[in-house]
């Protein structure tokens, strides 16, 4: 008899999702000016979770003026006072973490294991970390009394809805800015719950405004003349559009865009841990991670044994109900994203790469994609060049460290890379040559609020996290 794990679902009862939500402007939930709404669904079941007000241009205007009005008092507060709010928010997030984790899993489709053990702890840690900076800005290396910029317009993606919100809002508030944030249209709920956290923390009205909506609301926000700072995380295509919009204005801009991270495995790597790192690199959050290690560069001499180990490991991945505590692979966030992943995978096959997936039953409703591996991939294949943003790994080989570096860097992106070797000198030598904002060695997809994160080339500019992350929100 085999060891079959019985279902172990996390209870949905810990979260109370209202049938409808408004925009959060000036401390109040309010309908959109034109009364428009949209539905948000659970990607694992396609069940409608709630109906959410859809922000339009008029709402953006309202939110920005609320943020402008709040800016004077907020920025004049002593840093130690702003810190108190941030600490309070961090603690509330910790206290409500189970609720928020279940909510995020429902709205995003990612496994509860990840929201519980990665997203939520990182969200709270980010607020704690920047709370600590609020009264020490004079010691951050940006002058003795660096000033905030004003109103920050922030547009975030759906892959880590609450974590990306934290990356944007925590440093903005710590430095004395006020915020208008637009969550992604497929994952508006955790941002709206965060609005409630702001109220619970007694945050002054207008300091944080949340505008659920589509691309048009995002475009209106970044184009708004009274916005001083634009921060965007998302696709490179949209990032370029935003850069064009902002060009010629006095707005300060940071972009965190796509990636095609190389995970380089040398022949002297700790094989079992490298296999884990490859899995974490590309299957964490179903590969919907901008810094995913979506290109595996393996030294040709160990390719066969590594792939054998990797395939064996992929066969143990558990795909299914994201609320089940034993689920490793959840749902793809939207039908649209699923279609994109499917099309790119088909293109990979059409271009001659060899496709492999473990035997894996996909649920009948919802958006699902089996973990997929492509071998016989070269630099010329689309799947080695384009960001897939899904659970699809392209395997390429190299012969020498020079070739590994050349191939790793041979991409329009430059967000992340990984190095696997037991040889310390090689880690240092290779890391220095990689043009990627984050280089992990003997690990992958590890995040910490103290560490700056950001890209080279078409992966964007500006850094989030760490002391460096303050700069984007200061007038320096």
């Amino acid at each position: 008899m085999a060891f079959e794990y019985a279902p172990a679902p996390e209870s949905r009862a810990v979260v109370d999702i209202a049938p409808s939500y408004g925009l959060f402007i000036d401390g109040e939930f309010t309908e959109a000016a034109d009364g428009k709404v949209f539905k948000t669904v659970s990607p694992s079941t396609e069940e409608v979770l709630s109906e959410v007000a859809r922000a339009g241009e008029a709402d953006v205007d309202r939110a920005v003026s609320a943020a402008r009005k709040a800016f004077g008092k907020w920025s004049a507060l002593p840093g130690s006072e702003r810190a108190k709010y941030l600490f309070r928010m961090a603690r509330i997030i910790q206290e409500r973490s189970r609720e928020l984790a279940v909510l995020e899993t429902l709205d995003n489709g990612k496994p509860i294991k990840e929201t519980r053990d990665a997203d939520l702890p990182l969200v709270a840690a980010h607020f704690f970390y920047y709370a600590g900076w609020a009264d020490k800005l004079g010691h951050a290396g940006f002058g003795s009394d660096p000033r905030p910029l004003g109103v920050a317009g922030q547009v975030i993606p759906w892959n880590f809805p609450l974590l990306m919100l934290a990356w944007k809002i925590a440093p903005a508030l710590a430095t004395g800015n006020t915020v208008v944030l637009k969550p992604a249209e497929t994952t508006p709920l955790s941002a709206l719950f965060f609005a409630d956290v702001c109220r619970q923390a007694g945050l002054p009205k207008g300091v944080v405004n949340i505008l659920p909506g589509y691309g048009d609301a995002g475009a209106a926000l970044v184009a708004h003349p009274d916005v001083n700072k634009v921060a965007f995380t998302g696709s490179t295509a949209v990032g370029k559009e935003i850069a064009r919009t902002v060009a010629g204005t006095r707005k300060k801009l940071t972009l965190e865009l796509g990636g095609k991270g190389a995970n380089i495995v040398f022949d002297d790597a700790p094989v079992d841990q490298a296999v884990e790192g490859i899995v974490t690199g590309i299957f964490f959050n179903q590969g919907q991670v901008c810094c995913a290690g979506s290109r595996l560069l393996v030294q040709e001499s160990i390719q066969d044994e590594l792939l054998e180990s990797l395939k064996r490991r992929l066969s143990t991945l558990r795909l299914g109900d994201p609320l089940d505590k034993n689920t490793d692979i959840g749902a793809i966030n939207s039908a649209e994203q699923l279609a994109r992943i499917t099309a790119l995978a088909e293109q990979g096959e059409a271009e001659g790469a060899e496709r492999w997936s473990p035997t894996c039953e996909l649920p009948s409703s919802g958006y699902w994609f089996a973990p997929t591996l492509f071998t016989n991939v070269t630099q010329a294949h689309t799947i080695a060049r384009d960001e897939i943003f899904g659970p699809v790994l392209s395997v390429l080989t190299f012969r020498t460290p020079e070739e590994a570096v050349a191939k790793a860097n041979n991409t329009q992106y430059g967000l992340s890379a990984g190095i696997w070797t037991e040889k310390g000198s090689r880690i240092l030598a290779v890391a220095n040559k990689l043009r990627a904002g984050v280089v992990w060695s003997n690990t992958f997809n590890k995040f910490d609020p103290t560490s700056p994160f950001g890209g080279y080339k078409e992966s964007g500019f500006g850094r989030e996290g760490g002391r460096h992350g303050l700069e984007a929100y200061l007038d320096v």
Binding site: M1, F3, Y5, A6, P270, E308, K325, N326, N442
Partner: protein, 331 residues
């Protein structure tokens, strides 16, 4: 690292008590053995421990839990290794192994009782006819600091008294001094002394080997020398079985079988006291070595207090009530 696996059904993968034919060259000399062991892939400490911790978050409920608890009970090597052991104590242990829960005869028996060599005869009698094996620690357990003749005499005494399994300790001093061939030869000699009747468990005392690289090397060394089981520890030092060192040893037996066709068992011992811990170890087995090892022929828990906790959890699952320590036997 072993590459493509020869088919497991390859004829005579291992001569009795010796190195598998596929790896015969490895043990040709001290230097080939050293080169092989040092050529095994390194272990990244952080990564290994993270993987073990992540498997520790598996949530095992209801039917899965019932299955795991019964399996764990059937894998216990119920152990008493005290200076104060008496025939009475060993008989009580034997009775417990045969009928772990006197109130529920559907409870599986434990795999074995584990005693010192001088208690083997008593233990043998206590479990006679039940299918419960008698394991005996030997080779100057737990320090292993005795001449080879003395160790072998220890083993022969236990085997002659009817031990089904011998738990030997390796010479950690020799291992840490880099004298791998000495360790190898000693295991081979002990294996020979076990004859065909007793299975050999080789204890590394992982807490003394200290690094994961050493534990991987020791695992391969033990398997090359003919171990039927590789075992973490004696239970007599500060650090005994941990999820990480057991995970590492499970990887070793998995890879060893892939390369040689020979399956070797794993026995974490010491420090596993709760059902929750035991279930975590079974998850490690399931997701690392695979279901072929989910059997007491291939996986054991060296433990004493663990059994009562498993029994209490078993009663709780059956009745819905947690009855408490007065409802299991104290031996």
């Amino acid at each position: 690292m072993p590459t493509s696996a020869p088919s497991p059904e390859a004829s005579a993968p291992r001569q009795q008590g010796g190195t598998p034919t596929a790896l015969a060259d490895v043990t040709a000399s001290d230097s080939t053995l050293r080169r092989f062991l040092h050529g095994l892939p390194g272990v990244d400490t952080v990564g290994l421990e993270a993987r073990a911790a992540s498997l520790g978050t598996r949530s095992i409920k209801t039917t899965a839990k019932a299955y795991a608890i019964d399996l764990a009970i059937s894998m216990v090597d119920l152990t008493t290794l005290e200076g104060a052991d008496t025939p009475g104590k060993v008989r009580a242990l034997g009775a417990k192994a045969v009928h772990p829960d006197p109130t529920d005869r559907t409870t599986p028996t434990t795999a074995a009782v584990c005693v010192y060599p001088d208690m083997v005869a008593v233990a043998k009698e206590a479990v006679a006819g039940s299918g419960v094996k008698v394991a005996s620690v030997a080779t100057a357990f737990p320090a292993g600091r005795a001449a080879l003749d003395v160790k072998l005499a220890d083993v022969r005494e236990a085997v002659a008294a009817g031990a089904d399994e011998i738990d030997m300790v390796i010479d950690r001093g020799a291992f840490l001094a880099g004298r791998y061939m000495k360790v190898y030869d000693e295991i081979v000699a002990v294996k020979e002394a076990c004859g065909t009747s007793a299975r050999l468990k080789v204890i590394f005392e992982t807490g003394e080997l200290s690094t994961y690289d050493n534990i991987r090397r020791a695992s391969w060394l033990g398997m090359l020398a003919g171990a039927d089981f590789i075992k973490t520890s004696t239970g007599k030092v500060a650090v005994n079985a941990t999820p990480a060192n057991t995970l590492l040893m499970l990887e070793a037996v998995r890879d060893f079988r892939a390369q040689t066709g020979v399956q070797v068992g794993v026995k974490p011992a010491g420090g596993i006291r709760t059902s929750k811990d035991a279930v975590k170890f079974l998850v490690l087995v399931n997701e690392t070595a695979g279901e072929d090892w989910l059997d007491n022929h291939w996986f054991r828990f060296g433990a004493s207090s663990l059994l009562n906790d498993l029994l209490m959890q078993r009663q709780k699952l059956a009745t819905g009530r947690y009855s408490g320590p007065d409802y299991v036997t104290v031996d």
